[in-house]
């Protein structure tokens, strides 16, 4: 396999991975399992065992 073929496969594979990643991201948003992506957004996180208010 020469350099040209390798570059082609890598580029097309990269595009394919972008589509797959996007589909996964889409499915996560639709099913509500997207909290893992909310890095740093601590206001959205709720700890049910947090009893500071008691």
């Amino acid at each position: 396999m020469n350099q040209q073929t390798t570059a082609w496969i890598l580029t097309v594979g990269c595009l394919f991975l972008i589509f797959i990643f996007r589909s996964i991201q889409h499915m996560r948003k639709e099913t509500g399992h997207s909290r893992i992506l909310e890095i740093g957004n601590e206001d959205a996180l709720y700890d049910e065992y947090d009893d500071n208010e008691l």
Binding site: Q3, Q4, T5, A7, W8, T11, V12, L15, I18, F19
Partner: protein, 273 residues
């Protein structure tokens, strides 16, 4: 039958007499209308004619200045002792022949007295709420159209198949990146890059006899044809600022497309000279 005829003539009479009370009301409607017409890709002469037609129906006069991103409209009453001016930003709705046609039909309905002012405002809101065409249908049809371009330029079956795949991938990427709100210039660069790499499959895997046609037509779906055509139309009608604005916008997109294509050719080590 008599009741229906009476009802129809009553409705027609109401439509014919229902007009904006003040130049302000007319100006706000006309400026909103013009902004949407400009945003959906209409030429300046069409915007001018439509707006003037409606203003004349309502016994008013209008003048407008059309800029690349804004419209400045002034409406006078017939005695020219009362006027109202409004500046609106164009609506970035994307080029839509459907909205363009419906807005033009609305202007004719108003001019012919078939639609009153209140109903016109409702009709305009309904047109603004028009849902875009099914993105999957557009995706498939654009890919088939680009494949047809390849055939028109003398591509064989292998080249056509390559262009179809390149366009399917590139157009889907374009839709995804635009949905994510990325800059359109960056989108064009990326789509042209990936489409040209896929289009170079004829060189890489020695498919068919016309790989150069496949490579050249794989990025044609990105060419901003309508802005170029509208630019020439505006130039012919004397709207030089708008013409230059549209031309520069199209030129920038073409430059980004070319950069992506060059990037793909460099990566594939294809000598295009």
């Amino acid at each position: 039958m008599t009741n229906m005829t009476t009802t129809n003539s009553d409705a027609g009479r109401r439509a014919a007499t229902d007009m904006p009370d003040t130049p302000k009301a007319a100006c706000i409607f006309l400026s909103d209308y013009a902004a949407w017409l400009l945003g959906c890709g209409a030429t300046c002469i069409r915007i001018e004619k439509n707006v003037r037609r409606m203003a004349e129906r309502w016994g008013m006069e209008s003048e407008m200045t059309i800029l690349p991103s804004h419209i400045h409209i002034t409406v006078w009453n017939r005695d020219r002792d009362h006027s109202y001016s409004n500046i609106v930003r164009l609506q970035h709705t994307g080029i839509s022949f459907d909205i363009n046609t419906r807005l033009s039909k609305l202007s004719w309905a108003i001019a012919d007295g078939k639609t009153g002012f209140a109903e016109s405002r409702r009709a305009l809101e309904a047109i603004k709420a028009t849902r875009p065409a099914n993105k999957w249908m557009v995706w498939v049809l654009a890919s088939l159209a680009n494949m047809s371009f390849c055939r028109l330029f003398g591509g064989d079956a292998a080249a056509m198949a390559t262009v179809l795949l390149a366009t399917l991938a590139g157009y889907r990427l374009k839709q995804a990146m635009l949905e994510d709100g990325l800059d359109v210039r960056f989108v064009f660069f990326c789509c042209a890059f990936f489409s040209s790499v896929i289009g170079a499959a004829g060189y890489v895997f020695h498919w068919g006899d016309t790989p150069e046609v496949a490579l050249g037509t794989s990025v044609l779906y990105l060419i901003p044809g309508i802005p170029y055509i509208n630019s020439v139309s505006d130039l012919l009608d004397g709207h030089y600022i708008s013409s230059f604005g549209r031309f520069m916008n199209a030129l920038v997109l073409t430059a980004c497309l070319s950069a992506g294509l060059c990037g793909g050719l460099l990566l594939m080590n294809i000598n295009w000279l």
